[in-house]
């Protein structure tokens, strides 16, 4: 305990001395974060310095082992670091699919060679990753993917098409699910492979959404050479890793129903938009709907908290990520609908500075994808019914 107190003191002092002032404010959307990578242009000198200093200590991936560039922190120390960062409102130095997704998978399933090759550049923010999972014909039925990897001895030749690859046009490497064996049950013939996006035969095309431009891309793979030592885990055993990563992703997306620190609550925005009469929102029907949402959102936040507390105490049933993903994304969609309703026609203006270039309308439309990406709500309900309730 004394050690943890020392760690907290030292961490606090280090953050105080090393976190630039401009990095002590909430991140305003995806464009405001530091994504790193070969082609990254830092938005400010502070952004560069903050990444460099944190990466130096391995605190871009605080709980990874030191030998791969990570911070080597225990669970308790990691928690203290998070708390101390939150205390001064320090933003994460790096947003990274490498840190969030493929890194943990390589740590858990990858060879020593892959760990040494890929983990340190992820920690330093030098290589930006994208995820090649979905295909035009394989969405909810992900295991039905058709991208073929043909065995050529020491390497594979990959042909196929991926879709919904976030930031594929900006990423340096892709982690990609491919079919290495077409002759067995669909889940048993899949491998997770890694390749450089500059490999000949890789092309990307951005996808425009109903909400406007987006980070999503289509990725076309035409006779792409992938070395065999770039397979994570065993050949044909990629589905296990894919499921592990999907759980991870669900947990990330499920967090979206929550109000971020410093953000106005829905009720506060309703008061601004509608005004109060005798201490109550001036529109009675909207007041009921906002209250209903508010109750659900608070209950959901407490549930996310309880799930964490139970996990820490070694209690609980586990297997809650599907429920959190389902409920959290549905909540966010309801929130966006209420924002549109309370702001009326103002919320539906698409262009113009006075309307922040249609920000309300765009985030409302974008939220429709929350219950589709990372496994649709219907798939989450299937998972709950089958795995938790034993209905089949």
């Amino acid at each position: 305990m004394a050690d943890l107190e020392t760690f907290r003191r030292e961490t606090r002092a280090w953050l105080e001395a090393n976190c630039p002032q401009s990095m002590r404010s909430p991140v305003m959307g995806d464009d405001d974060q530091c994504w790193g990578g070969r082609n990254w242009t830092f938005k400010s000198e502070d952004q560069r310095v903050w990444l460099e200093r944190m990466a130096e200590k391995g605190w871009t991936a605080p709980d990874w082992p030191k030998e791969y560039g990570g911070g080597g922190l225990s669970k308790e120390e990691h928690k203290i670091l998070r708390e101390e960062m939150a205390r001064i409102k320090a933003r994460p130095p790096l947003a990274s699919f490498g840190v969030w997704m493929i890194g943990p998978a390589i740590l858990k399933f990858g060879s020593e060679k892959l760990k040494k090759q890929h983990l340190p550049p992820i920690v330093r923010g030098e290589i930006r990753w994208c995820q090649g999972y979905s295909e035009p014909g394989a969405g909810s039925d992900l295991a039905g993917l058709q991208t073929r990897a043909e065995d050529r001895g020491d390497h594979f030749i990959v042909n196929g098409q991926k879709i919904w690859t976030s930031y594929a046009d900006k990423a340096d490497w892709m982690f990609c699910l491919v079919r290495t064996n077409p002759d067995v049950k669909k889940q048993l013939g899949i491998s997770l492979v890694l390749f450089d996006m500059t490999t000949p035969g890789v092309t990307t095309r951005p996808i425009k959404l109903i909400s406007g431009s987006s980070p999503f891309c289509e990725t076309f793979l035409e006779n792409v050479r992938v070395e065999k030592d770039q397979v994570v885990g065993e050949i044909d055993q990629g589905w296990t890793i894919a499921k592990y990563l999907l759980t991870h992703e669900r947990e990330m997306i499920g967090g979206m129903g929550r109000t971020a620190a410093g953000q106005k609550t829905l009720a506060e925005m309703a008061v601004d938009a509608l005004g109060l009469e005798n201490g109550r929102l001036a529109d009675g029907m909207l007041r009921s709907e906002v209250a209903r949402w508010d109750l659900d959102a608070r209950a959901f936040e407490l549930t996310a908290e309880r799930v964490l507390d139970e996990a820490k105490a070694g209690q609980g049933v586990g297997n809650t990520s599907a429920m959190l993903k389902y409920y959290g994304t549905e909540l966010n969609k309801r929130r966006q609908e209420l924002l549109i309703a309370m702001h009326g026609s103002d919320a539906l203006v698409w262009e113009g500075e006075a309307w922040r270039e249609g920000a309300l309308a765009k985030q409302w439309l974008r939220s429709k994808g929350n219950s589709i990406e990372g496994g649709t709500s219907e798939i989450q309900l299937n998972v709950i019914a089958r795995n938790i309730l034993g209905l089949r």
Binding site: A267, V271, L276, R280, A291, R292, E305, M323, A385, R392
Partner: protein, 380 residues
Amino acid sequence: MTGLVLNEEQQMLKDTARRFFSERAPVSQLRRLRDERDATGFSRDLWRAMADMGLVGTLIDEAYGGTGFGHVGMGLVVEEAGRNLSASPLLSTAVLGASLVQYAGTDSHKQSLLPAIADGSRLTALAVDERPRHAPRQIETRAQATGDGFILSGRKINVIDGHVADTLIVAARSAGAPGDADGLSLLLVDREAPGVTVERTFMVDSRNAAIVTFDGVQVPDDAVLGLPGQGREPLQRALDIGNAHLAAELLGIALEAFERTVKYLQERKQFGVTIGSFQGLQHRAAHLFSELELVKSVVLKALQALDEGDDRAPELVSLAKAKACEVAELATNEGVQMHGGMGMTDEFDIGLFLKRARPVQQLFGDYRYHADRYAGLRGY
């Protein structure tokens, strides 16, 4: 700060309560009480056994013969009673009576009432509502000051366990007019006192309630709980405590109805397969599962807030009661629907959960009441 988990002692209490109610007061006991039109409406033997185990004194300090285990502990007992639809004066006496006397009573009130409540020998009932929908500000029952006491006149409805309670705790107006927040007094009234008339009402859940009429009942000064005219605060606190435990009961009712329904989906066959294989039912069950997870969190949070004297207890209680009402309604409705024709029969238990849930929802405010109160407390 306590995490949203049970400690070891609480977990043990929950297990003990679960075993106790499923063995000593299962759903079949409620059926028997109903079918025999039992005059008491619960088993006195059961109540004695609960007192002997220390369950009745869960909220009472050790100095007065209780265990001082707190609201989280009592909530677990109430939840398990809810699972079995166990009839007993747990709410009226062990929750409402005990906590009101302990909070607002004088030393002599505590000495004379708390040990007797804890050992099961005295029953209490809280008389608040006068209208079919909960509206504590609208109290009309008058407590007219006489110099050395009060003259009590009025009519209370939905007084839970009013027909068997030894002591009635009556919320009456000693000043102001209906609609005023202030001017309430809490009076301890003997059920046998001259001018008190009690009429038992037979409710849809086969549990006990009563209409109690006060016709010029003389109440001495020393029978006031707290200060005369200052009854709003202790009453509101008691209602918060009551609502947190009603939410715990609704959680128990909803969880049990849900688990029985899932089991039925796994067993019942139509078209040659179990009906649980149909996605139309799977998704509704999975949604209900998610909602129940939310209710578990809000109920525990509200009970912890009461134990910790958290300022936010009122809003957390309204959150818990509102959410528990909403989800218990869904769980019991889905329960009957998914049991199909069997769900409509008296022979199957699932209908009894539906019938118990509604009175618990209505008592001290339903979803609408508490959603409105929550919004008000949150400043809109």
